[in-house]
């Protein structure tokens, strides 16, 4: 049994997506993290375009273009400017050491594949791995948010989480209506702006972007 070439290609893109999330998990530098995020966006663009081509759904081309503009170009540029102005290029401090996080990541992959197995059996025309990979990416983005201390990293992780969800939506269910996608894209953009403003506020208040300082905000 030979899976069609297009599907193989999407599988490959999915694996690369997972690879990038793992790379983000292992990355210490914020700048490289943002570059990886841009690459993730590029992969997403490619996979959306491929799905659009294979299923002949033209609206997916628009969303591919949107992804390109927003997630490959605009958001990384915004984030880049942000860290430039905040001057937070130093290495990310992690809460758990990196190899341990990677091990947790592998466990998450196994877990999410088994979790996704029954769901993907329902879905038609899709290899069962895709939803599992997307789920693993989501969980791992959450893991990045959990284990990093810098607020900027957390935002990148949040955006990568959104990317993973988007990938699940396009490749597994062949896309959402365009309106919904526009809405989400707008949300993400706005969220990034708001985050940016917050960063300045956080730094004003605590003289640092370390979210550990936020512990002070609770009632004593």
């Amino acid at each position: 049994m030979q899976t069609p070439f297009i599907l193989q290609f999407i599988n490959l893109l999915a694996a690369l997506l997972l690879l990038i999330v793992f790379a983000m998990l292992a990355q210490r530098r914020i700048l490289s993290l943002i570059k990886l995020f841009a690459w993730q966006g590029a992969l997403l663009t490619l996979s959306t375009a491929v799905v659009a081509y294979s299923t002949a759904q033209h609206h997916l081309y628009y969303s591919a273009a949107l992804t390109l503009a927003l997630k490959v170009l605009l958001l990384p540029w915004l984030l880049y400017r942000l860290i430039h102005r905040l001057n937070v290029r130093w290495e990310v401090e992690t809460l758990i050491n990196i190899p341990a996080t990677m091990l947790v990541g592998i466990a998450l992959v196994i877990f999410s594949f088994n979790l996704a197995a029954p769901i993907s059996q329902l879905a038609e025309g899709i290899t069962r791995g895709l939803i599992g990979i997307a789920l693993a990416c989501v969980l791992m983005s959450l893991l990045i948010m959990l284990t990093r201390r810098k607020a900027v990293t957390q935002v990148v992780a949040f955006l990568s989480l959104e990317n993973s969800l988007f990938f699940a939506a396009t490749s597994a269910t062949q896309g959402m209506p365009l309106v919904v996608e526009f809405g989400i894209a707008l949300d993400v953009l706005v969220a990034t702006f708001i985050f940016g403003i917050f960063f300045f506020q956080i730094r004003e208040t605590f003289d640092s972007l370390d979210i550990m300082h936020m512990e002070k905000l609770k009632d004593d």
Binding site: I106, I110, F113, N114, A117
Partner: protein, 668 residues
């Protein structure tokens, strides 16, 4: 066929009896010269006979015998089937080498002590053989206890030293906790059929619900695991092995640990009617943890025998992984794969018996030559102990799992079993398999690290103490024993097809499935399918040797072989002292640093301005502090409460008796 095959069991019995007799004679003679010149070599010959008898009997039907010994109505049942035979061969092969070695090693011992030791030593051998032969719970437990006690006395041979007494006590304690668990497991397996059902035959027939079968398996795994050194009951190994005289450590590590593996196999695949899949996962997981733990701790040891003890823990872990894999495949009906995994397990048992015995007796020679167990005070022995250094190198290469020696073959088989595994019905287990293979590969690579450290620090480099210049090589009998074990390592490495053919018989009788060699050629090891995998150590050796010879020849012919001796270069650094080399601690330091969370490290680092800088580092087992010490405290507290009952007043004791009587009467 029947006549010869019956005699195999008889020969075995004869050997056991002979060993016990030898021990008794030794106790009576008490003369070092005759003990070492006559008794130990005779014991060795008996071991060889045992191996030969087992070898002849391997393919034949199981033989049974009922001995009218023991208690009335409870005779001893003996049975020699393929599994017992295999482990008897292991016992015979390893103990032949060790006994030969022992006859040289004990030459300087005082006669009276040696007479006692001779008794204990041969009783130990006999009880191990009996454990393998036992076909009822009664004889099994008697032999098991005899094995534990005789080895306890062997461990505490130097009982004047408090540390050794402590190590012996710890060993005895854990051995007994394990024995209780085994006894309980037998009790469960009887299936409540009363005292008549104590034979293994009755247990095979007893119907057990999966719940009780699992209970029996868990008890047996704990009990035998305690003997084998499976986490978390491993703590006695690194204490007891260094304490014992080297031939005894060799036997304990090489053979006695395998009786525990035998026990697990016997209970799981023979006595229990059906297996459950999670047993395999449990064994696999425990094995992986044990393997990595063992090798990690081996890397940071400074005492050479402790290092080897931790390496034994690693190997036991690998064996347990093999058992777990066999279980998983067996339960899921992958007969051929189960046979492959079992073959890997048995092969590795045999290998470990050979190379670990070799290494342990080798440390004995070093101990005799230098009086040092601490690797930090050794070094450069390759110049003073040529025989020992060559033979130990064989052992080191074998245990590091390098081709074309034997360690590689079993590792190869185990990895093949992993590689062939996909397609198990449970997807979690399916994914566990590659992760487990990765951990095995990691443990194997770390074992090479440990062995470079072991050999490099002891034999290579400059002498760390001036007294080492007086070190002498192993004596002739010591050499003979080591040569035998080293030859066994080489032969097991070079003729795997033949060995596997014998192991296959065990797999056939235990699992009802067989592996077979797909390749018709005896040079090629090719389980399952020639296209899938094949390995030929003979060709491998020939090719490496040929290529090496060719390069020597070419270099000499085309250029020259001129050689000068000079001072070491070392980047032009003039003053070379032995203290500049890595110590044992130094060599293990990267491992300690990488796996820091797993150790309990005590460190004393000098400051920059110390006039007498002193560095001291010590890595301990966290489990000891997290598990054993709390357990000890709890026990002390409980016994403290129990001691409240003790008053010394007769009236009170009578009252206890009275109360007990009343309570019992109420129940009756």
């Amino acid at each position: 066929m029947n006549a010869t095959s019956l005699s195999a069991l008889e020969i075995t019995n004869g050997v056991i009896l002979f060993w016990i007799l030898l021990g008794a004679v030794g106790l009576w003679w008490r003369d070092t010269r005759s003990l070492t010149r006559i008794l130990f070599p005779l014991g060795a010959l008996a071991a060889l006979l045992l191996a030969a008898a087992g070898f002849a009997a391997l393919g034949s039907e199981a033989q049974t015998l009922v001995l009218p010994l023991g208690l009335p109505e409870l005779p001893f049942h003996l049975r020699l089937d393929a599994l017992s035979t295999f482990f008897l061969i292991l016992l015979g092969v390893a103990s032949f080498g060790v006994s030969l070695y022992a006859s040289g090693y004990f030459r300087h011992m005082e006669g009276k002590t040696l007479g006692l030791l001779c008794l204990e030593y041969h009783l130990f051998l006999a009880s191990m053989a009996l454990v393998l032969l036992a076909d009822d719970a009664y004889l099994f437990m008697v032999a098991w206890e005899m094995m534990a006690l005789s080895s306890y006395f062997l461990v505490t041979t130097d009982h004047a030293i408090p540390d050794i007494r402590r190590a012996g006590f710890l060993y005895l304690l854990i051995a007994h906790v394990g024995a209780i668990a085994i006894l309980l497991a037998f009790g469960v397996m009887q299936g409540g059929n009363g005292i008549g059902a104590y034979t293994f035959d009755a247990m095979r027939a007893a119907p057990l619900t999966p719940f009780w079968a699992s209970a029996a398996f868990l008890l047996a795994l704990f009990g035998f695991g305690a003997k084998a050194g499976v986490l978390p009951t491993h703590v006695w190994l690194p204490e007891a092995h260094p304490a014992a005289p080297s031939p005894v450590s060799a036997l304990m590590s090489g053979v006695m640990l395998k009786t525990a593996i035998y026990g697990i196999l016997r209970v799981t695949f023979d006595l229990l009617p059906e297996q459950v899949w999670w047993w395999g996962v449990l064994a696999l997981g425990l094995g992986l943890v044990t393997a990595v733990f063992g090798v990690m701790f081996a890397a940071v040891q400074g005492d050479m025998k402790r290092l080897l003890a931790y390496s034994s823990i690693e190997n036991i872990g690998l064996l347990l992984v093999g058992i777990g894999l066999t279980l998983i495949f067996h339960v899921y009906g992958k007969a051929e794969l189960a046979a492959l995994a079992l073959a890997a397990t048995l092969y590795h048992s045999l290998n470990h018996a050979c190379f670990k015995s070799l290494l342990f007796v080798g440390t004995g020679s070093i101990l005799h030559a230098t009086g040092e167990r601490n690797m930090g005070r050794l070094g450069g022995l390759i110049h003073h102990m040529p025989w020992a250094s060559v033979l130990m190198l064989v052992g080191v290469l074998a245990i590091a799992g390098l081709p074309p020696l034997n360690g590689f073959v079993s590792e190869w088989l185990l990895l093949q079993a992993f590689l062939l595994s996909p397609g198990l019905p449970n997807s979690y287990i399916d994914m566990l398999v590659p992760v487990a293979a990765a951990v095995i590969a990691l443990a194997a690579a770390l074992a090479a690290y440990v062995m470079v450290k072991f050999y490099g620090v002891i034999f290579l480099g400059q002498r760390r103490e001036p007294a080492l210049a007086r070190a002498h090589d192993a004596g002739s009998m010591e050499r003979a024993g080591m040569v035998w074990l080293a030859l066994a390592c080489v032969a097991l490495g070079l003729f795997p097809v033949f060995v596997l053919g014998q192991i296959d018989l065990v797999a056939l009788s235990l699992l009802g499935s067989q592996l077979g060699n797909a390749s018709a050629d005896w040079m090629f090891l090719a389980p399952v399918d020639t296209g899938r995998a094949s390995y030929s150590p003979m060709y491998f050796l020939l090719a490496v040797a040929g290529v090496m010879g060719l390069s020597v020849l070419l270099v000499r012919r085309l250029y020259h072989g001129r050689l000068r001796r000079g001072a070491a270069w070392d980047c032009g650094f003039p003053a070379q002292t032995a203290r500049m080399q890595d110590t044992a601690e130094g060599f293990g330091q990267p491992i300690r640093r990488i796996f820091e969370p797993f150790f309990r490290i005590e460190r004393e680092v000098p400051g920059a301005f110390d006039t007498h800088p002193k560095y001291h580092g010590h890595s301990d087992d966290k489990l000891w502090f997290l598990l054993y010490l709390p357990l000890k405290d709890l026990t002390e507290k409980l016994s403290g409460w129990a001691s409240l009952l003790q008053h010394g007043r007769i009236h009170l004791y009578l009252a206890y008796t009275f109360a007990t009587l009343v309570v019992l009467l109420v129940f009756v």
